[in-house]
């Protein structure tokens, strides 16, 4: 009994000494501000900033502050608080939101074949072009939904397309990376959530697109002509609206023959009585 106690006490003292020496010898001085900044960040560890987690960004903000460092989840308010704490000028960026650029719902895009492999867009995309005639559109198996940490996307059962909630989306960009068809784009949220964008990514020729889907961009160029702000560019049979140049006049929306240009969160148009 006494030997046990003695051996353990001696061991304890020796090892405590080792730990003490190691702790002194390899001591790393860490800026205490990193902990504070980490506390100010949202703590979602989503990786949207490009760092593995919030602590990574906090370390970068404290040690190597630059305009490039930005937390899209916390947005301008969080970055303002962080900048104030660090005594720097706040970076202000337009809030962004994920938009789904495919309007090929079940109703407008006839299903030609049926995929019964593993339920994953990534698997489906590596195997074949899709269940419909469109080889660019949404595959509808919800890889974007399963990667979202914020419950901001769900699959609409009636259309078969993902729907993003403006309030919940933090523009972390995980769904953008998860989508094998690169349909989802991070786009400016716009004033009061008002946006105008082309909800199609098909680069097929007009006739091919039209045959596959009634709501696809056929590359007719009418929107380009009608736009007064030179905001719409046409490349590979596909129109793209520059969110910076777009003034939300919505002329293109009415002009689009297939309804591929989508407007969001605008108040309903006043009906002008015809005389």
């Amino acid at each position: 009994m006494i030997y046990t106690v003695v051996v353990l006490v001696v061991l304890g003292v020796l090892l405590a000494g080792v730990l003490f020496v190691v702790a002194k010898r390899f001591h790393v001085e860490e800026d205490p501000r990193i902990d504070t900044v980490e506390g100010l960040l949202p703590g979602a560890n989503c990786g949207a900033c490009g760092y593995p987690g919030c602590r990574g960004l906090a370390t970068a903000l404290v040690t190597d502050y630059s305009e490039e460092l930005y937390c899209p989840v916390g947005g301008a308010s969080t970055m303002g608080v962080v900048a104030e704490f660090l005594g720097r000028a706040a970076v202000v960026r337009e809030p962004e939101v994920a938009v789904v650029r495919c309007g090929g719902s079940c109703a407008v895009r006839p299903v030609l074949s049926h995929f019964d492999g593993a339920r994953s867009c990534a698997v489906a995309a590596s195997t074949y072009a899709g269940q419909t005639g469109c080889s660019f559109g949404c595959l509808g198996m919800g890889d974007c939904v399963s990667v979202c940490d914020f419950d901001a996307i769900y699959m609409d059962a009636s259309t078969g397309l993902p729907v993003v909630s403006d309030e919940k989306c933090t523009s972390c960009g995980k769904c953008v990376k998860a989508c094998p068809k690169v349909i989802i784009e991070l786009r400016r949220k716009g004033p009061k959530g008002r946006r105008v964008f082309v909800s199609c990514v098909s680069r097929d020729k007009g006739a091919v697109t039209r045959k596959a889907c009634q709501a696809g961009c056929i590359g007719c160029g009418k929107c380009v002509k009608v736009c007064e702000f030179d905001a719409i560019a046409m490349a590979d049979n596909l129109a793209y609206i520059d969110p910076v140049k777009c003034r939300l006049c919505r002329k293109c929306v009415g002009e689009c023959p297939t309804g591929a240009i989508v407007e969001t969160n605008f108040p309903p148009k006043k009906v002008v009585a015809e005389v």
């Binding site: 030609l112 074949s113 019964d116 492999g117 593993a118 994953s120 990534a122 698997v123 590596s126 195997t127 074949y128 072009a129 899709g130 269940q131 080889s135």
Partner: protein, 446 residues
């Protein structure tokens, strides 16, 4: 009797068309010839819209070392060089030709007389094979000339000819062995000469006794014309036709993980390839047609000699069309083939069969949870752990997927076939292979 030691399954053989002689399918009105029918860089088109072409004329030249040229399978006018969807609906650059008559390039010998005399050197044979656009006809479509050119410092000791045809339903290689025995053996001789090997083995599973007999008999008759070779009967087991499995079965050697057959001194070629080599070298005929099995739930399972570029729908029409309760049309065999979503897709150099399944057979059962029974472990011929790889892929843990040797997977499908929980293991593993492949390539480029 020899076979490979690890893993494997015994799916029902269903060789419905084994006794049906090869019929020549009439040339269709239009053919679509994809420029990428092989592994490696797609061929570069050398024809344009409006050009007149003859059978055997060059349509696309090889773009690099690992690539293969493409020749016109018909005579007619080029209607366009544009993007056309393949069986999976994925578009690739293809040459569309409207057929007029059937005029062949004058240098092609179209007689049936079997030629034995070949005075060419090894280099000349390899060049001839490369120029004829010959690729692995078993389905992998790796350019044959590349396999015949071992990398510096490596020497092929033996040639193994794959006459296994372990995929259920498919009988195209079987029929070629029966109907063109002498030609196949001469082709094997040419391959052996191109490689300069001493030993040659022809592996045939013993569910094809007629093929083994006729190969032995014909070999005995024309012994003097050929280098020494041995016909090896093999015990039936899937996937014996896998290159690495066949090498182990015949020689007892194991290809190291991440290695190639040449690392153990072997080169494996398919019997269909040997036949194509014979035609290219002795008859000057590029690869413009192949034998395709059309089988399954169709009225009249058959083997056809088909021009490359013929739409799959034409093959199905020739066997009485699709059945009413058709569930799936598969390009290739039931184990490794892919379900087709576009039946207007053309037959390519790698199309060994078209399989039609009825709805009852085609349906996939509902997936349930993995109970870690380990059946996938026991059947995997490469000694992988499919039950572990699939969830790792789902969680996108690519580093672990790589250390668990996903790149060794030969995509034989034994794991998915045997899984009692009906988990589509191979779907996930294939995705893992693609992603890890990308990561490895980017690491090499860096």
């Amino acid at each position: 009797m020899k076979t490979f030691p690890r893993g494997g399954v015994h799916p029902p053989e269903n060789k419905l068309s084994a006794g049906v002689p090869v019929e020549v399918l009439p040339v269709p009105g239009t053919v679509v010839v994809p420029l990428s029918q092989h592994l490696g860089a797609p061929a570069e088109a050398v024809v344009a819209k409006g050009d007149r072409v003859l059978v055997g004329q060059l349509l696309g030249k090889a773009a690099g070392f690992v690539s293969a040229p493409v020749h016109s399978p018909v005579s007619g006018t080029v209607a366009g060089v544009d993007m056309v969807a393949n069986g999976s609906g994925i578009k690739g650059l293809s040459v569309t030709i409207s057929v007029e008559g059937d005029e062949w390039m004058p240098q092609i010998d179209r007689t049936d007389r079997v030629g034995y005399d070949c005075q060419m050197s090894a280099e000349e044979i390899v060049k001839k094979i490369a120029d004829a656009g010959i690729v692995g006809m078993g389905g992998a479509t790796f350019p044959t000339s590349v396999k015949l050119t071992p990398p510096q410092g490596k020497k092929a000791e033996m040639l193994i000819i794959n006459g296994v045809e372990c995929e259920p339903f498919l009988t195209s290689d079987h029929r070629v062995m029966l109907e063109h025995t002498a030609e196949v053996l001469v082709g094997v001789g040419l391959l052996a000469r191109a490689l300069g090997v001493e030993k040659t083995f022809v592996g045939v599973e013993n569910n094809k006794p007629d093929a083994i007999d006729v190969l032995r008999k014909v070999y005995g008759n024309i012994l003097r014309e050929l280098p020494p070779m041995e016909i090896v009967p093999l015990k039936v087991k899937y996937p014996q036709g896998g290159e690495k499995q066949l090498i182990t079965a015949i020689t007892g050697r194991t290809v190291p993980s991440g290695g190639l057959p040449i690392d153990v001194g072997c080169v494996v070629q398919n019997v269909g390839t040997a036949f194509a080599v014979y035609e290219a070298v002795m008859k000057n005929k590029p690869l413009v047609e192949r034998v395709v099995t059309v089988t399954g739930a169709v009225e009249r399972p058959a083997n056809f000699l088909v021009r490359i570029g013929t739409p799959v729908s034409a093959l199905l029409d020739a066997v009485g069309g699709l059945p009413e309760d058709c569930g799936k049309v598969i390009g290739g065999g039931p184990m490794m083939g892919r379900a087709m979503s576009n039946l207007d897709a053309p037959v390519t150099k790698g199309t060994s069969g078209i399989l039609v399944l009825d709805r009852r057979t085609a349906v996939r059962c509902a997936e349930s949870d993995c109970i870690k029974c380990g059946k996938c472990l026991t059947v995997c011929p490469m000694g992988l752990e499919p039950y572990l790889l699939a969830p790792l892929v789902q969680k996108q843990r690519w580093d672990e997927v790589e250390t668990h040797r996903v790149m060794d997977c030969i995509e034989c499908g034994c794991c998915s076939y045997t899984c009692p929980a009906k988990i589509p293991l191979l779907d996930w593993i294939r995705l893992g292979k693609a992603e890890v492949g990308k990561i490895i390539r980017s690491r090499l480029n860096r």
